[in-house]
């Protein structure tokens, strides 16, 4: 049964993609996309009831390709469920958002291809298969970011995302190869089980290779620069790939292999620091931008930083719980922003404002998502963020202080965003209209999720506990009631709430705090310039390009020079051979 469901989860979207490609009319395409994504979502949710710790599907390829296996354990099945459910809602949202666009076939086919690949990524039990799906999600992400190929910014964003995640992919590749060279197998569970018996240097290469891959995929410092650029994608794609699913793959990778790498010297500290810096920088950058989608993107970097930080602090369950909550509320925020952008035709928050009256439904759900992001009690983001901070407090107090500050910043930029878009003065006078029906369905379901999904934390923890044999002792799972009680009575929670309140207050009182604002201007300017990482990226690109231009002169087109090339080669090779003898 589990095997069948696994195959259905992956192949239903792919079959749908093929159908979409071949379909003749846009209506048929939309129907095919919705149907196949719904089937995949049902299969993945059903899979939660049939989790296994052993492979359910196997294909033996032999040689260096090993055996391709799928293991639907709790972690994999849970992420597959997130990917397919949010994928399905995104497809429904797209019905309205993408209506009338050109090349809808390519759009839906790529989205469906992505959903299948994402499920394959989290369910795969073989390192090679994991890598294949890892790269496939990068490929889909690139193709969807530059979906509007006529826009040079979209093309540049797509290629940037592709190249940076591919550089991370090299880290994953090297890590896998180093492990394979020692173990002689590509089985993930064998790697986790035998990590302790690997030579120290091989394990270190693997651990840090995987960390690089995770940082690139999850847009962590210093690889985060691709995510803001990825905001040129159609908004539903940003919601699905760049907020709710693909960017989580890095966090998933770290969580999955935590038991193997936790003992590597310096690894957990590196994870912790990367998460910390990303959370802080992301929050500062979110505060400094005027572009609604970029603000959300920076906030994604920051929230992913929280998850990575949690893993570094040993809070595996906290990170996965926050992943779930973040996926739901950030998808909601992105789709809500999509509804706003769809009607306004701009992403600049300075040209929005006062939309509260025209779009009450969107305002309501956006505020719900925003409160969850800020970590206000009884919305889902609150619980997981508190769990992460608790884990941090137990590990390193100095880092807890910085994360606390970041939580305050989060509240500040969230309120700023909501205020600029929905309240304040209206800057553009044109007929904004509230979301159409398909959008409402998707937004409504997600808003309900934000309000209620945290109640499942106990069940979710139990699922992880029972199906992850190697994570025993690192999960720290409690039942929902215990978690509520523990968090409400913890002093750290109240401290955090105070800081969050302070963050809100800063925005409300911003007019009276000019001294503070002025003092912060240099920091804000640095944040707006992406703390120099953007400059570094451009530098690398221009260096490669000017090297290419210079090198092209060697192709002189003169026959005599070509012969000189041969003679030079001959002399060089003969000299090398004589010397190396």
């Amino acid at each position: 049964m589990a095997g069948l469901l696994v195959l259905l989860t992956i192949l239903a979207p792919w079959g749908g993609a093929a159908w979409v490609m071949l379909a003749r009319s846009d209506q048929l395409r939309q129907f095919a996309a919705v149907l196949s994504s719904v089937i995949a979502a049902c299969a993945a949710l059903l899979l939660l009831a049939f989790t296994l710790t052993t492979p359910s599907v196997e294909f033996a390829l032999g040689g260096v390709f090993g055996t391709f296996t799928f293991v639907p354990d709790g972690l994999g099945a849970f992420l597959a469920a997130v990917a397919t459910t949010i994928g399905c809602l995104t497809v429904i949202f797209s019905l309205d958002y993408m209506r009338g666009e050109h090349q809808l076939g390519r759009y839906y086919a790529l989205v469906l291809l992505f959903i299948g690949a994402m499920c394959g990524l989290v369910l795969s039990g073989s390192l090679l298969l994991l890598f294949i799906f890892w790269e496939m999600t990068a490929l889909c992400s690139y193709a969807l970011i530059s979906f509007h190929n006529d826009d040079p910014k979209a093309v540049a964003g797509g290629i940037k995302a592709l190249v940076i995640t591919q550089i991370g992919g090299v880290g994953l590749l090297v890590g896998i190869l180093a492990a394979y060279a020692q173990l002689g197998t590509l089985d993930i569970s064998v790697l986790i089980a035998n990590a302790g018996s690997l030579p120290a240097d091989a394990l270190t290469i693997t651990a840090f290779g995987f960390l690089i891959a995770a940082a690139a995929k999850s847009a962590q410092v210093p690889f985060h620069t691709w995510l803001p650029g990825a905001m040129e994608a159609p908004t539903p794609v940003s919601a699905l790939i760049h907020a709710a699913t693909m960017v989580n793959a890095g966090v998933y990778l770290l969580a999955r292999f935590y038991p193997a790498f936790a003992a590597v010297p310096g690894w957990t500290t590196a994870v912790l620091i990367i998460g910390l810096l990303s959370a802080l920088f992301g929050a500062l950058m979110a505060l400094s931008t005027h572009d609604l989608k970029r603000a959300l993107a920076y906030s994604t970097i920051s929230q992913l930083g929280f998850m990575v930080y949690a893993i570094g602090a040993g809070g595996i369950f906290a990170s996965q719980f926050h992943l779930l909550n973040h996926a739901v509320f950030k998808a909601l925020l992105f789709l809500g922003a999509g509804a706003v952008i769809h009607t306004m035709g701009t992403r600049d928050m300075r040209r929005m404002g006062g939309l509260s009256r025209a779009m009450p439904f969107v305002r309501n759900v956006f505020v719900i998502g925003g409160l969850a992001l800020a970590g206000v009690p009884f919305f889902n983001g609150f619980w997981s963020k508190e769990l992460i901070l608790e884990a941090g407090l137990e590990t390193a107090v100095w880092s807890f202080v910085i994360m606390l500050f970041t939580a305050g910043l989060t509240a500040l930029y969230t309120l700023r965003m909501i205020w600029l878009v929905f309240f304040g003065e209206a800057h553009a006078a044109f007929p904004a209209h509230d979301a159409p029906n398909a959008m409402r369905i998707a937004l409504g379901v997600l808003a309900a999720g934000v309000l209620g999904i945290w109640l499942l934390s106990g069940a979710f923890g139990h699922l992880l506990e029972t199906t992850l044999p190697y994570h025993e002792g690192v999960l720290h799972v409690e039942s929902t009631a215990d978690m509520i009680f523990a968090l409400i009575t913890a002093p750290a929670t109240w401290l955090t709430l105070a800081v969050i309140g302070l963050g809100f207050a800063l925005w409300v009182l911003r007019a009276r705090l000019t001294a503070l604002t002025n003092a912060l201007t240099p920091i804000m300017r640095a944040a707006a310039a992406d703390f120099g990482f953007e400059w570094l990226n451009r530098r690398i690109v221009t260096t490669a390009q000017s090297a290419a231009v210079l090198l092209r002169r060697t192709q002189t087109g003169q026959l005599n020079w070509n012969v000189v090339g041969i003679v030079t080669g001959l002399v060089m090779v003969l000299v090398v051979l004589m010397v190396g003898r």
Partner: protein, 493 residues
């Protein structure tokens, strides 16, 4: 007459027949295409027979007079790639070459060149190897300069001829040197020769001599010109098998000399690194599609050399098998890329009787007007860039695995370098794909003529192969593994 001998002899016999078939009836030069297809079909039958015989009883020797021809794993692999690409190219060229002056010569030369490559793969002695190599080279001169009424094609032809001829003279000097020192030309006897300076020098001459054909940097300068000016079917064969045939000739020779010096592996690895980086950087700012693909061939030769270099240097069987696997997948992917680019070139320019080069800008919006050709070109270039689940990834994976299996730090660093080069290559492959899926077509696409069915079918066939091997790499391990072990055997490991 064994099937293996017939397989080698058939193309040479049928090539003139193909020519006369088109010549007999001046109005129907297409007869030569049918004759070419027929002889390829027979060659396929003979190939299957030889392959089954090989799988049962190992390498097959056949002797004519003093000449020994041997079918082993390496020859089977190269023969398979040659026949696959020649068949696809012959099918494809139906409309592409229709009405060109000397159409019948084209098909006759394609068959002759394929025959020469099959012979080269089977040659068991040095001089014989050189003769096949020269036969292949001369027939490819004529094909590169096939549009001999056009200035650019002439220019490319002259450069190719002069450089290739220098290369083959260097090979010949190496042969003479070996003959002078050892008194034998048989490759298997050569392996027994003791170490001597002259033999190492001869090896160097082979590396450079064959290196011109393989397009090792800095002997590569003919390649972009020849690839871009030849008819697209010929670009396919040049990039997909001719330069690889040179590589196999080199492997045969220095494989036989492997016992006398350790430096071959180092040399191959050094050229691998240079070729990968140089090819990618040269392609980065390239505006003509066929030139871009030609430069990417340089970097892919680098990957093959990396695999073979690992086999020579550390004796890892996966390196050899991976190198051969990449040779095969590169043939298919680059073949697909050139044929798809050729199909677009045909639709955008050739059908208008224009001989402009196909530029990257011309591709804008091709995805709508020519969905199949655009998809094929995308699959091909993304596969070349090493994205799974396409064939190129799997062969690179095998090579990379071999590098790590050695546990040698330098080789591991080289693998990382190669992987980063794959990322770099995406920086010029990806924009190509982006262009094709624009909404606003270029003026060339707007005026484009439809692409004929025969071209579309070949594109589908090759694209299916590229994806299928990417999903199931074990599909071709019956070819790559024996080829790898044959090389390891020659290396005495």
């Amino acid at each position: 007459m064994t099937p293996s001998l017939a397989l080698i002899g058939l193309p040479l016999v049928s090539s003139p027949l193909v020519y006369f078939a088109g010549r007999a009836d001046r109005r129907h030069a297409a007869w030569s295409r049918i004759a070419a297809l027929l002889s390829l079909l027979i060659a396929w039958v003979l190939f299957v027979q030889s392959a089954t015989q090989f799988s049962m009883s190992g390498a097959l020797d056949s002797t004519i007079g003093m000449i020994t021809l041997r079918i082993d794993g390496i020859s089977l692999l190269l023969t398979a790639v040659v026949l696959t690409l020649a068949t696809f190219v012959t099918l494809y060229s139906d409309r592409y070459m229709m009405g060109e002056m000397g159409e019948e010569k084209y098909y006759a030369l394609v068959i002759a060149m394929s025959g020469a490559m099959i012979g080269l793969a089977c040659a068991a002695d040095l001089f014989n190897l050189w003769v096949w190599f020269e036969l292949m080279t001369v027939s490819s001169f004529l094909l590169v300069a096939f549009y001999c009424q056009r200035r650019l094609a002439l220019e490319a032809g002259v450069k190719y001829l002069v450089q290739s001829a220098v290369g083959s003279v260097l090979v010949l000097l190496g042969v003479a040197l070996i003959f002078a020192v050892t008194g034998t030309l048989r490759l298997d006897e050569l392996a027994l020769a003791g170490e001597s300076l002259a033999l190492i020098g001869a090896g160097g001459l082979f590396v450079i001599g064959f290196g011109v054909k393989i397009a090792l940097v800095p002997m590569h300068t003919w390649l972009p010109d020849a690839h871009s000016q030849a008819p697209s079917g010929i670009s396919t064969l040049l990039s997909g098998v001719v330069i690889e045939a040179g590589l196999i000739a080199l492997l045969r020779v220095i494989g036989a000399l492997a016992g006398i010096a350790e430096s071959w592996g180092v040399l191959l690895l050094a050229f691998a690194a240079i070729n990968m980086l140089f090819g990618n950087l040269m392609a980065l700012r390239q505006k003509q599609v066929k030139r871009l693909l030609a430069f990417s061939s340089l970097s892919h030769i680098g990957y093959m050399l990396l695999g073979f270099g690992i086999a020579f240097y550390a004796g890892t069987p996966d390196g050899a098998a991976g190198g051969f696997f990449h040779l095969l997948t590169h043939g298919l992917m680059k073949g697909l890329a050139f044929l798809a680019a050729g199909a677009l070139l045909y639709g955008l320019h050739l059908a208008h009787e224009r001989h402009d080069p196909l530029t990257v800008n011309d591709l804008a919006g091709a995805g709508k007007r020519y969905p199949l050709a655009a998809l094929s070109l995308s699959i091909a270039v993304l596969g070349l860039g090493g994205l799974p689940p396409l064939a190129g990834f799997m062969s690179k994976w095998q090579i990379f695995t071999a590098g790590f299996e050695t546990q040698d730090l330098v080789l591991m660093l080289l693998v990382i370098f190669a992987a980063l080069n794959s990322v770099l290559s995406l920086a010029y492959y990806a924009p190509l794909v982006n262009r094709m899926y624009r909404d606003h077509p270029s003026s060339a696409v707007q005026q484009g003529k439809p692409i004929p069915l025969s071209m579309q079918l070949t594109l589908i066939g090759l694209a299916v192969l590229v994806v299928a091997i990417g999903v199931l790499p074990s599909l071709v391990s019956w070819l790559t593994e024996p080829a790898g072990s044959t090389l390891m055997l020659a290396l005495g490991r």
